[in-house]
Symmetry: C2
Subunit: 423 residues, 2 copies
């Protein structure tokens, strides 16, 4: 008998009927002879509704009170799901983060989990109960309620699985697994049976939104076997996410992804002086702006550089403000260009590290179909190219063909975040 | 500088605008030089909504999971109210029952408060913060979430006031105080400046629904000075509720009330044997049925009695079931009569105890206007008469006249529970 942690997102518990379906899925796993812990998000659009309520009260609610407010959403879900399991004839108990003891940093809105107490969970599992735990929330050592930010419930599930030394953490979503490319772009893509943590992480970072990178990072650190599977096709085994050493096979290129959620900012005539890049990116970090690709190139005039980088569209206004405030220090003649006409196209594969020709193949394939590359960034297992917006679909199709990803032997990824999974 | 506990019900926090009004009321009290604790209920119809959600999931939700579910309502209110106080320029912190440490019995749906920890409240008051606490909820020593049942938030406020040794506990409601009679029946009634705990308790029990008896009992036990006042007329001082020894004046009859929420059950031919009444009322108590008036009278045949009693309409079906199950034991020839055509009319006054003529005056006044009395029950400071339904308004008017309650010198009570105060 093993321990299985199941995680269901907001769309999976959006109404009483769907909650009963989740109850059945949990009972099915228990009937297979396992001890079952279920982690759930807030129902459907509850979180959006609570955010809008807060905005009606004040334009700038305090993060502490936002966490107090938002954490109620998951508490509603766990109570209703426990009722549903009981109504289906099972035994269940709901627990919020305070009751479990999901200890986080003292940071509101984006706390990291430090520890998960297992005593009460195990006590109830031993009584034959399905333990239903509120995702997305935690508690500081002082008893303050925190939330984990975007992707929080996935991370809760993985952290709980790690603490319990669970056999597997099943993430139930709207998609039935991880694909080599977005099926809406490349209809012939295949679902991957397996993918490594590292590949999944890179794919998540480059725009494949099935899982939040934080949950995959946690799984990798704690060696938690994850499975992404469909809430609507319970018999489907989905995609396993595991350590590269545990993989049966891996390919040079496992998947592709496109991301159109970024803008490119270019600062020209930045003085070629030590510390300027640190000043700029330090200031952006202080403002909680995540920078993705960075390129520093020789400027058009001697003694100065151009610095180009990409940020999320959501951070555009704030980024420009920061840059404008720094311009006098960086160089009085500097200018700021904003380029919204971009898409990021990436290939990911753990096997890439041994094959130096992959990058060249990617650039050549894109050039052959007339796609211009604006920026390039690489990691050990990933190559990303910035192209003009509108070219991303052709690029993905081309890359799938180039790396044999659109046949049965190929690996896979993509998909937008499902509607209910807004955090 | 004193400590003032303010309690606002669901209608007072029904929307963001009203929440801002509550924030202003709290800040006003703080600007008067007081430390302020605010206890709030769930917004408007939130509790009804959550109950209906649970009913969609299952017909018989477990009490534990209902408490988990319902307690989220108050947590939403406290977060929003804290945001509003901060938006109005004040300092505030919200705390749920777990964070405060409002310790209750391990009973779900109707737990009694055993203890209120004051450490965190006082720490935050000393920092100049308005402490906003979730009403209606508690926590067992094991960390299980409980709710306090009907009237719970009033009781939370009084218990917190008692623990803090507060100067006063202000209960803000839809009415602006306690009246000698229902103003809808007797338009000339006056608001009472003061009323004793005992009188308020009797009035609450006989149908005056401004305050739940439990909160008044707690206030009496702990000697908490209560004030009932209007959420909509902050300058109005409302009615003080205090110990009879602290009252400046008190009248033989302080107020009247009518209650049409009961039915009368009559069991005929109950064997005149020891233990029969105990058997009947013991069985009703086991089924959580509260019995109000009880009369046992000589039956029409020798060796048997008739037993008549009143219960809430809500308990009618269950009461009949219990009686039917007992009939064979009580007497095979017994019959059960159900009388729904009743109203209970009461007068209450701490001065009654010294004036033996009050009861006779009441019966004579009712007889003079042709009202027949079906049952009578008395306590030291209360006389209740059961009359035919439809007669209650005439009865109240007659009694107000008889005891001079409809002029400025008279004392007062009544009012239905405000719409949002459904628990």
């Amino acid at each position: 008998m093993g321990i299985i942690v199941q995680k269901f997102g907001g769309t999976s518990v959006a109404d009483p009927q769907k909650i009963h379906n989740v109850a059945k899925a949990a009972l099915k796993e228990q009937n297979n002879g396992n001890q079952v812990v279920v982690v759930v998000s807030a129902m459907g659009h509850t979180t959006d509704y609570l955010v809008s309520l807060a905005k009606e009260v004040t334009e700038s609610p305090s993060p502490r009170e936002m966490d107090m407010l938002l954490s109620t959403g998951e508490q509603v879900s766990i109570a209703l799901l426990s009722m549903a399991i009981q109504a289906e004839g099972g035994k269940a108990i709901s627990m919020n983060a305070t009751q479990v003891g999901i200890i986080t940093e003292s940071v509101h809105g984006m706390a990291r989990i430090l520890d998960v107490k297992t005593e009460k969970i195990i006590k109830n599992l031993k009584k034959g109960k399905i333990v239903v735990i509120a995702g997305f929330q935690g508690i500081t050592p002082d008893g303050e309620i925190t939330t984990l930010g975007r992707g929080g419930s996935d991370t809760s599930a993985v952290a709980i699985a790690a603490a319990l030394n669970a056999d597997r953490c099943d993430i139930y979503t709207d998609v039935d697994g991880i694909y080599t490319a977005d099926p809406r772009i490349v209809p012939t893509v295949q679902k991957l049976e397996q993918i490594s943590y590292e590949e999944m992480l890179e794919l998540a970072r480059v725009g494949a939104n099935v899982l939040h990178p934080r949950s995959v990072e946690t799984a990798k650190q704690c060696n938690v076997l994850m499975r992404v599977r469909s809430s609507f096709k319970l018999e489907d085994k989905g995609t396993l996410i595991l350590g590269v050493d545990d993989m049966e096979i891996y390919k040079p290129v496992a998947g592709t992804a496109a991301d159109t959620s970024q803008v490119r900012i270019v600062l020209t005539h930045v003085k070629d002086a030590p510390g300027n890049a640190a000043l700029l990116f330090g200031k952006l970090a202080e403002n909680n702006i995540s920078v993705d690709m960075i390129i520093q190139s020789f400027g058009r005039t001697s003694g100065s550089n151009d610095i180009a980088f990409t940020v999320s569209k959501d951070d555009k206004a704030q980024t420009i403000k920061v840059c404008e405030s720094l311009l006098p220090e960086l160089d009085k003649s500097g200018e700021i260009y904003v380029d919204e006409d971009i898409a990021k196209v990436s290939i990911v594969g753990a096997g890439m590290v041994d094959r130096p020709g992959i990058a060249a193949s990617m650039f050549r394939a894109l050039a052959n179909v007339g796609i211009n590359i604006k920026m390039i960034s690489t990691s050990e297992i990933k190559i990303s190219c910035l192209v003009n917006k509108g070219n991303e679909k052709l690029a993905i199709k081309t890359l799938c063909k180039e790396f044999n990803l659109d046949c049965e032997e190929a690996a896979v990824v993509n998909g937008d975040l499902p509607p209910g999974e807004t955090k």
